[in-house]
Amino acid sequence: MIPVLDFSNHLLFWYYLASNLAYLAMLIIALKTSALHQRRLQSRRLNWLKEAPLVPPITIIAPAHNEEASIRVSIRSLLELDYPEVEVIVVNDGSTDRTFEELREEFRLRSVRAVYVAEVKSAPVRGLYRSEADSKLIVIDKEPGGSKADAINAGLNAATSPYVCVVDADSVLEHDALMRIMVPVLDDPQRVVAVGGIVRVLNGSEIERGQLRRVRLPQKSIEAIQVIEYLRAFLIGREAWAQGNMLMIIAGAFGLFRTDLVRAVGGYRSRSIGEDLDLVARLHRHLREKGADYHIRFVPDPMCWTEVPSDLKSLGRQRARWQKGLLDVLWPNRDMLFRPRYGRIGWFALPYLWLFELFAPVVEIAGIATIILAACLGVLSREFFLQFLIFGYAFATVISIGSVLQEEVTYKRYNDWKDVVRLVSYCFFEHFPYRQLHMVWRLQGLWQYLRGDYEWKALKRKGLASAKVQ
């Protein structure tokens, strides 16, 4: 028994160290990359871009399902985005509330025969509408497809621009977000095939006529901790992975893709649980198999603000779904692992996801169990265990504070001192018991997937009411 426990402790120790060192390396890369990005932006004045000729048009696809509370405000904000040529397609995915009626009243919709060619699979379309109030707006009313992916596919079939930007209908984009997300494309349109933008937590902030007016940290602890998680994931993780052209996920709430490529891979997979990760994985596969020279980029400044769950039950469901989605993507793509054909995706990005994202909750629970067992058997050095715990706590806090630092030196969206003090304090308090709860939710997700429970469980949402709408 003792050798097994010892092996397990060895494993836990090295696993923990490797995971945190990887994050530390990513933090360093991200700090450097952001500084370079900021400097580069100095030579690109965004208002020049508005006047520039030959700027590629963009189609924004906003799937909406039962969004009656916020649909008017969010679509209005999409229509007011700063970009020379934009088309907005809202896909009403079989809403059972007044989403469609709200759209019809607000934007004076009339039935049209816009070009719709079913190149990618989606549920049947009931009707196509164009706004009389704003000719940029097209609404697709369709049968419920059971997933966001299905709704996006319908939008893809009607899109006429070379680039599509997929957003959540309940999110708020900053007015210059499209211009900022297009910067990598404009620099290298031949190679850049997709760009991810940053998604930030909307809860607690103030919105006026669909535009974010004041950024505030949410009041509830559970929401504020998610702010740190999002900062860590986007400003450190994605920034660093994208630097090595190994970005595996572009947030479903805000991402830009080359339309022809998304169609070439068959659009979004309707039955996928994590459709955003799934699409990027299939794009990597498709392009690597073709031997294409391509880039999938991340830009940290075009911001999309979205509502995060504000109760434990919804948050648990969301995290369980994310974990299910991860397994749902990694398992079918297991053949990409360690195959030279898939290059760094097969050698680094996917193994990292398997090891430090998918298996993390399993390793954590196994580690906790063996430590308890070792303590019971009297083979655990309590002094060292305590020190290991303190070290782990301090090290993990460095990473979290690092993400706050990254926010501070680059984008600095929290202007209020009180918000920053609270944000930093949560870096110390998120380890207990939030992390343990998170581990349990992720384990639940894995278990649900393994026993075939792929059901999409609805999250409790307030819509834009999670922010103060004026």
């Binding site: 025969r113 349109p189 301090a394 504070i401 706050v404």
Partner: protein, 405 residues
């Protein structure tokens, strides 16, 4: 066998773990101190800057007219940066008169000379900053310094210089860019190069012709696209020589530029290009026909309506709708094609332009169609479809079997 904790414990906690804990805690403390000290410093700095901006703004007119001696603020870098940034921001929104006034001020105060010097002498990000500032002034004397920076090894510097030259929007800047691409080839991405050239060559598009004729590969394509954008009527015959070019980008450019040429030549050229094997060449041709808005283009547009590419069909339909005359006979010809996709595109364009009612009225009033034809056409317009059973009826009533050319 001892556990790993024991083994590490034997190494001595002071030696390994204790140091690691101290290092992590020190890192936490340093990060926190940096965040808060930086915040405090920035708060102080911006307050100071804001107060100074207000003071300078109060005396702005006296400042730019030279009433306040330039020496009063030039030697203080804090003030100089503020004055320059206010002046450059004003440039972005100023009309020609105000621009001239600001430029005079920047020259007289020596700020432009300073930036030219920096653009030539400095390296890295500081050079880039100087280039951006020079570009924002659009001063002709800044063009040589910007052109020199096009030869920098750093891509970011080259891009900053290129954008700066683009802002200058003068033939002199165009000559510098063209000389550089002839000498070095494409050392920047295509889009910024196109953008800068379009801005600079608008006044004298002929500058592009030698390079379009002699360049090769992607550079030739870029030049072709730029030429297509800036083409003027005077260039018409020169552009039409690219109708049979081997590169599709140049054929597309010829199509784009055709409306600027003599209408007779343009129709012949567009007729050829509308049947090109590459879809975007056909698309360009159809769009150009739409711009010509001439009934002579109808037969070509009707063919475009039956194109295999949906964008070409839609643009052809829009071009037909944009003619806005003789809608009833055109609609009759559309139905005669018996092409469902074409009809769909036409009705879509009609609805998008909110002209369905007008076509209905035109059909009613038209003397060019018989009453039986009217009934059939109205039914097709109402349903927007051409059911199988109706095809025979269309054949019988309208008697057509394809577009009338």
């Amino acid at each position: 066998m001892r556990s790993i904790f024991e083994k590490l414990w034997k190494l001595g906690p002071a030696a390994v773990v204790f140091k690691a804990i101290v290092a992590a805690i020190v890192a936490d403390a340093l990060l926190l101190a940096f965040i808060f000290l930086r915040r405090a410093y920035r708060k102080w700095y911006f307050r100071k800057r804001d107060a100074r901006v207000f003071e300078l703004r109060q005396s702005w007119e006296a400042l730019i007219s030279g009433e306040i001696p330039y020496e009063n603020w030039r030697k203080k870098s804090f003030d100089r940066r503020i004055v320059e940034s206010i002046a450059l921001d004003e440039f972005e929104a100023a009309g020609p008169e105000q621009c001239a006034r600001l430029l005079k001020f920047l020259r007289a105060s020596g700020l432009i000379e300073k930036r030219i010097f920096e653009a030539r002498q400095l390296r890295g990000w500081r050079r880039m900053r100087a280039l951006v500032a020079l570009g924002r002034t659009r001063a002709p004397e800044g063009i040589p310094a910007l052109a020199e920076a096009l030869r920098d090894r750093n891509l970011e510097i080259r891009l900053a210089a290129l954008r700066g030259l683009g802002r200058a929007a003068s033939p002199q800047a165009a000559e510098e860019i063209l000389a550089w691409v002839s000498e070095r080839g494409m050392t920047v991405p295509a889009l910024p190069l196109q953008g800068a050239l379009i801005q600079c060559c608008a006044e004298r598009p002929r500058l592009l012709l030698p390079l379009v004729q002699h360049a090769e590969g992607p550079l030739r394509e870029v030049m072709g696209r730029v030429l297509g954008e800036v083409a003027s009527p005077a260039l018409g015959p020169d552009l039409l020589q690219f109708v049979g070019d081997e590169r599709e980008e140049l054929r597309a450019a010829a199509a784009r530029a055709a409306p600027q040429a003599d209408p007779k030549l343009a129709f012949d050229a567009l007729g050829v290009l509308a049947e090109d094997t590459v879809w975007f060449v056909r698309l360009r041709a159809v769009i150009s026909l739409g711009k010509l808005a001439d009934l002579r283009g109808v037969p070509i547009l009707l063919k475009g309506l039956m194109d295999s590419n949906r964008l070409v069909r839609l643009r052809a339909a829009e071009a037909l709708i944009a003619l806005n005359t003789g809608m009833a006979p055109i609609f009759k010809q559309v139905v005669e094609t018996k092409d469902r996709y074409g009809l769909h595109a036409y009705v879509t364009a009609l609805e998008n332009a909110a002209l369905k009612g007008k076509l209905e009225a035109d059909l009613q009033a038209s003397t060019e169609v018989t009453s039986e034809e009217k009934r059939l056409l109205q039914e097709v317009l109402l349903t927007g479809t051409l059911p199988q059973e109706d095809l025979n009826q269309v054949e019988r009533v309208l008697g057509g079997a394809g577009p009338q050319t």
